[in-house]
Subunit: 414 residues, 2 copies
């Protein structure tokens, strides 16, 4: 189907969805959750075709794991939709209201974006998860998944559309793009007339491609070169606990710690403690010269190390003379995602909180808390690392815009 | 100077500005306002060179008028800066705060974007106006004006920088790009590493070019194909007053009315009233067939007319059978800027307010009120027609982002 036609249908569906009542949206999500469970067999059959093709192409095991659906994973998608129905509906919230001197009554009201485009890779669960969040926030969604998962996505998309239709809601509220050609994706990224915002979900390369090719506003998510600064007044035992958590609890996630900054006054005591504590986790440490003078077995860190999101069992270390130097270093090399200071000094903590230019800045806590569920949003479409629109974990409210409603009785401008 | 160097300097300046106190920002703006008045002669001399070059190039008179500075226009820039100092500083506002079950205290705090890029055309006053708004909201700004105004912009930029330096603030908080090559502008639009948001200010072509070439998040401003719908229950006399105001008070602005939608039940009475009322303003009316049957002297409207922002003494008319049809027509052809309904029917008004997908939706008032000053923001950098980040008139608060500050006592994620 032509993208222009899909765009127009999605836009028409969006104008209906914007006025759809909360109860009706919840009813549809619960019905679709049931359908997903009922259709487990047909979903698994479609997914088996994708997995077989990937095996044939000798795709890496880790990629095949992302692609593979199981009964448990399908149930998890259904549970995800059910959980969304428990969240407050952000649409219609009065954000502000005031009366102008000329008597005009102005209301600032939360509304859906309209049409959201999601471009993602090989995880088929994104098809259902992203639909659920976009739908509950009153948005139509156009889904463009990876070609690896095309059979799974088509099967899931058909269930979502059938479920909507069963509930008397236009199925065009969700559209899975079936054409996997690269040209189609490029065309999609320039469909400004119909798509209000584009959210890429995936690795750094996907996000870069979307940023470079899209003329539609993009929400950039994901990259996290997160730092922890151990201040001269740090509780060193707490620092160790927090670093072990932030570095090793899950290595491949964006809120994992990639780099330490250590104050020189504590390095002699702290670095050997750290080396010992991290040893069981097999984390390679790449450090600057001062740190290597204290722990000679640390590898040498290059300039490039400080700017790298490893997503792996590697940690870089930079030593500094002051909290100011730590802030300057972090603001130069981080990706504005999440950074933490470990200190008992209120003044240093306050300066760090204000001066570090990140979505989430922590005092005495693990960077791993940057997460929509941990923050209490009850959902997460991603973690924004840009400053336009939304920053940090994005829940339902971050999938909305606003408009002004102005009521008068004949006012004209003089 | 190399753009990378400018970007880095602006980013460094931004990290200082983010922590600069309100009083100090106000002091600097007042000082610069004084400097502008003091340097009127040198500014006029630089501007005279630009005007002479434009005359030589046989540029249109209307363009030269935009380019030309006078003592009064320079004073107006100074007054603009003084007015900004009277506004509340948005930076540091606590937007929300809560405590998580694990004891983490989360604060959502308003912060500057960081570095804002402004790309504009030949009005030199934008150099000062945009600087003032960006500076007061704690942002460093990189200004890329049109080549026509380069001498004026360089002179103004030097005064801004000197004024900042006089007050002990880094002059890199503002940078006027002196290189007028197109390639430089393209390079600027891809400086993601240093620029957080790009705001084009100018005509539709400029905005289109920036949208197509920028990899930095853009705030789209300006285009307004604004509609007024005259309902079957409209007060027709009020409708005429509002339409005359919205169409004729200023023809070339984005919140002017470009198209009428008229309910068939009132067309026979209303259209002749309208033709008579608009006659003194020499507005050409292009109407659909039903309207031309009533007033044969109306010209014929094509499909293209309904989608056109004339910015001129032309008005299109579409007749409809219902408020629903009016909404569908408007949502199809408008630019999501400002649209109004004229009606005494609360139900029709309510449906219109909810269903029209525009930044500003009016009941019984002129679309000309879509303006930061009219809304009481005390300032305006532009009117956003996109839904990401900010919609409608943008004041100081719309030039900010937020961050989360999270304070714990050793929490780790389990």
């Amino acid at each position: 189907m032509n993208l222009m036609i899909i765009g127009r249908k999605a836009q028409d569906a969006a104008s209906v969805l914007a006025l759809t009542e909360t109860a009706k949206k919840r009813e549809a999500l619960l019905h679709i959750a049931g359908l997903l469970r009922k259709e487990t067999k047909s979903i698994l059959a479609a997914n088996a075709a994708d997995v077989a093709a990937a095996v044939e192409k000798k795709v890496k095991d880790s990629m095949i794991d992302r692609l593979r659906l199981t009964e448990a994973r399908i149930d998890a998608m259904a549970v995800g939709l059910e959980q969304i129905t428990e969240l407050a509906d952000p649409i219609g919230e009065k954000i502000a209201q005031w009366i102008l001197p000329n008597g005009l009554r102005v209301r600032k009201v939360r509304v859906p974006f309209g049409v959201i485009g999601i471009i993602y890779e090989s995880r088929p669960n994104v098809t259902v998860d992203a639909f659920g969040l976009c739908f509950m926030s009153g948005n139509a969604v156009i889904l463009k998944g990876g070609s690896d998962a095309i059979n799974s996505n088509i099967a899931l998309g058909a269930i979502l559309r059938k479920g909507l239709e069963d509930c008397g809601i236009t199925p065009d509220a969700v559209c899975v793009i079936e054409d996997t050609a690269r040209e189609t994706t490029k065309e999609l990224m320039r469909l400004n007339q119909f798509i209000d915002v584009l959210i890429p979900r995936g690795g750094a390369n996907l996000i870069k491609t979307v940023l470079e090719n899209s003329t539609i506003p993009v929400i950039e998510t994901g990259t996290g070169n997160c730092h922890i600064y151990v201040d001269k007044k740090a509780d060193l035992a707490k620092a160790i606990d927090i670093i072990i958590n932030a570095k090793t609890q899950r290595m491949g996630v964006c809120n994992a710690c990639e780099s330490l900054v250590v104050h020189k006054d504590v390095e002699a005591k702290f670095l050997p403690m750290l080396a010992e504590a991290l040893a069981p986790y097999h984390v390679e440490i790449r450090a600057d010269e001062a740190a290597r003078e204290i722990v000679p077995q640390f590898a040498e860190a290059t300039e490039e190390d400080f700017g790298t999101e490893y997503l792996d069992a590697i940690l870089s270390i930079k030593t500094v003379d002051s909290v100011e130097e730590a802030i300057e270093h972090i603001n130069r090399y981080h990706t504005k995602h999440s950074d933490a200071i470990i200190t008992k000094d209120c003044k240093a903590a306050d300066l760090f909180l204000r001066a570090i230019d990140s979505a989430c800045v922590y005092v005495n806590a693990s960077t791993r808390f940057t997460d929509g569920f941990e923050f209490g949003f009850g959902a997460e479409i991603g973690i924004s690392t840009q400053k336009l629109h939304a920053r940090g974990p994005m829940g339902l409210a971050e999938l909305t815009s606003y408009k002004y409603q102005i009521v008068g009785n004949g006012q004209v401008r003089s």
